[in-house]
């Protein structure tokens, strides 16, 4: 998993490239937590356009990050999910806590 990021207009943009499964979950968690510790943004947008594969492990990773940022009142948004990722998000109600933006 490759995680790219930039901050623009008080927004932390995160691009996930690769496959998010049990094997890559731990490193992805650590990388995101490190990025999310920053202070100079008020919201986070996670771009999944380059995510080639995700299973339900990805839901655990995303919900875990949501819980951490909720305490700081920083909302997280999802954009560009694949059809399959979208199906898993809808199934699990993830969009209720991390809305999709276009």
């Amino acid at each position: 998993m490759i995680v790219k990021n930039r901050i623009y207009n008080n927004t932390l943009y995160v691009l996930l490239s690769g496959e998010l499964d049990e094997h890559s979950a731990m490193n992805t968690r650590l990388t995101l937590d490190e990025l999310f510790e920053g202070k100079n943004f008020k919201q986070i947008i996670i771009d999944l356009s380059e995510l080639d594969f995700m299973d339900s492990t990805g839901i655990g990773v995303l919900i875990g990050r949501y819980k951490k940022m909720k305490d700081r009142n920083i909302p997280i948004f999802i954009c560009n999910p694949s059809n399959h990722a979208e199906k898993i998000f809808k199934m699990t109600g993830l969009y209720d806590i991390m809305p999709k933006i276009v």
């Binding site: 496959e19 499964d21 049990e22 094997h23 968690r29 594969f53 299973d55 339900s56 492990t57 839901i59 655990g60 990773v61 919900i63 875990g64 059809n83 399959h84 199906k87 898993i88 199934m91 699990t92």
Partner: protein
Amino acid sequence: MREILNEMTISFKALSVNEGFARACVAAFCVQANPSLDEITDIKTAVSEAVTNSVVHAYPKKPGDITIKVELYSRSVTIYVSDKGVGIDDFEKAREPFYTTKPNEERSGMGFTVMESFMDNLELIKNEGRGLTVKLEKFFSIKKNVAVGE
């Protein structure tokens, strides 16, 4: 009686690094039945869930083996993901959405729900002796020309 056109079996250690190999291998084998890209992704996702389940739960002490057997029919595929681990006592509970025995590890508890919704049939089978077999079945949308056996 449906006729098996082709079948294969792979076996590997229950390590998370093998998840990508397992789903790619099953998907590559299924390609000969000419499924749609969506169907292939459904299969990859379900296999990944079943393998993850064995990697995370089956062998708490030392990783044992996971075996995947794939039976390919003209219009469907049946996939058996088996381990010889601790197994599951309560199938009904395990299949409930959001149920997880490891809530502190950021696990979604959605593995079986995802398998169920991405495949056409999901069956959990207690292995003789030890462990669990997850049986997954997928029907391909339209009659395809299968090269095997032609």
